[in-house]
């Protein structure tokens, strides 16, 4: 059995009658990159704050790096975190802001310049935080999270405000850390990003964990779709009707037919089109993406 970096067992947080997280059970294996997804208000940030000892759970238990979350002082020196966007002192420079946190955590000040270099802020380290762009603020937040040379890195929406090259850099940093054995627990709205880097996923909906496990397990459990594109668009409705008559559920999406069926049905569909005098320009089987799966499972549109 894999060793766990994070475990949650019936973890619950109530605000009055409303459950921000209700009986959450999940495991994040050590050394993995685990995505944390869910619509806004589903309880992601509340969960992260409980794991970091900022919020007291109303019920249940959790462990981080093998220690109970009721004793955050035992594991936080090995945890790096960026929660709900970067928060720093506007009148201090980026470098000074990092030094404040380095001094507080007892980390060598020499790490500050190394990290500014790593997140591409070396030339702006002396500028006041309030003059930074959103992307620069985000990168400074990532640098702060990396200060302890963490065994576990918790990132809440790390790519917010970053341009495509910035997103790619963050992806590279996360992969590099995972290669060195760091566990990364990352929440993001950019699901295509998570699909590319996360081996594990924890999915929330309305304060409940609706999936926790391998990303591949989640995606392979979804129904595949056959996308068929007739040579002439005028044939779309005829083919859709024929397929429906044969019991295939289908819909027209952007000039193609999306048919709920697997690889085994593709020959029959091709034949059916041929018999109706329709030539298919293309036919392919695709698995739903993480984004499509997310929408299906969370009921989000």
């Amino acid at each position: 059995m894999e060793k766990a970096a994070i475990t949650a067992s019936d973890l619950t947080k109530m605000y009055g009658d409303r459950a921000a997280l209700s009986h959450g059970n999940f495991v994040v294996p050590e050394g993995s990159i685990c995505g944390f997804v869910g619509p806004n208000g589903s309880g992601k940030t509340t969960t992260i704050r409980m794991l970091l000892g900022l919020i007291t759970p109303s019920g249940g238990t959790a462990t981080v790096l093998g220690e109970s979350i009721s004793h955050p002082e035992k594991y936080l020196p090995f945890v790096g975190a960026m929660i709900e966007g970067p928060a720093f002192y506007p009148a201090l420079s980026g470098r000074e802001n990092l030094k404040v946190l380095a001094e507080l955590g007892g980390f060598p000040l020499s790490r500050v310049d190394q990290l500014l270099e790593k997140v591409d802020l070396a030339d702006r380290g002396g500028s006041k935080f309030k003059t930074y762009s959103l992307g620069m603020k985000q990168r400074l937040g990532i640098a702060a999270a990396l200060l302890p040379n963490p065994k576990l890195l918790i990132l809440d929406e790390p790519t917010n405000g970053l341009d495509p090259s910035g997103i790619q850099e963050v992806r590279g940093i996360i992969r590099d850390l995972a290669d060195t054995g760091t566990t990364v627990f990352v929440s993001s709205h950019i699901l295509s990003e998570l699909e590319m880097i996360c081996e594990y996923l924890v999915m929330l909906r309305e304060g409940k964990v609706i999936f926790s496990g391998r990303t591949q397990e989640l995606l392979s459990g979804q129904k595949p779709i056959i996308i068929a594109k007739p040579e002439y668009e005028v044939d779309l409705n005829t083919l859709a009707k024929k397929l429906s008559e044969s019991g295939f559920t289908n819909s027209i999406v952007n000039g193609s037919l999306h048919i709920e069926a697997g690889q085994e049905a593709s020959a029959a569909i091709n034949r059916m089109a041929f018999e109706a005098g329709i030539t298919l320009a293309s036919i392919s089987v695709v698995l739903p993406t993480l984004e499509e799966t997310f929408f299906e499972m969370t009921g989000e549109n």
């Binding site: 970091l52 900022l54 936080l76 929660i83 928060a87 201090l92 030094k99």
Partner: protein, 263 residues
Amino acid sequence: MIRVVIAELRKLRRPSLLLGTIATVGGLTALFTSIIFLMIDSENGNSERGERISAAELSNPTGLINGFQLVGVFLGIVSLCIFASQTAQEYSLGTLRNLLVRQPSRMKILAGKFIAMKLFALVMVLFAGALSIAISYALSGRAKVDTTSWGTSAAMQLLFENTLNIFISTLCYGAFGMILGLLLRSPISAIAVGVLWSLILENILGALVKSTVKWLPGFNFQNLSSGGGLNSSYKHSLAISLGYLIIGGGLAAILFKRRDVAN
């Protein structure tokens, strides 16, 4: 805890706060000390509430500290504002979560912050004292004040006692500001409530019901600054001030320790 103090001092020495404090404290000290010497012959008085301090009185050892003593209560108000904003800004900026991730012991954060701000307040008081003395010497000639007794051991003793009293008073005002910062979690609200209460509401209350004066926090903090005798003894003011700070500080510390950090 020493790490919290060092980190906090790094925040306190930022140029905007440091220069702003130097300018405010320097300006107030220069103003009040100058008034004593430059308005020495004014019929409207040259001290608190129209009181007159003559050249002969200023030639006594107390003359060395008159200006410094006058600015003492304002140093308290400056301290209140700094302590309140430094504490409440951690909530308004959302930086408290960063601090608590790097130092999970909330009591260490609180104690470290207080110690760092105490050091800042001490430097502020010493700066005001040094400036006031320098201005007093500079203006003594023009006001025809004999400064011979200012160098005596009696004057040094008075200077030490006065500095200590102002420092204690400044700490009381600062702790009051810190409590307000923890309770209100907004720098503007904490400063507004603290300053309004200390400078306006207590004076109105004191004027309406004279017997309340002995029991109000601001009056007692102020009484400590002047070494006692305004309306009650030094010991009484010290006890009342400590009482307020222990009860208020305890309540704020419990809230700080138990409250979820959700922003």
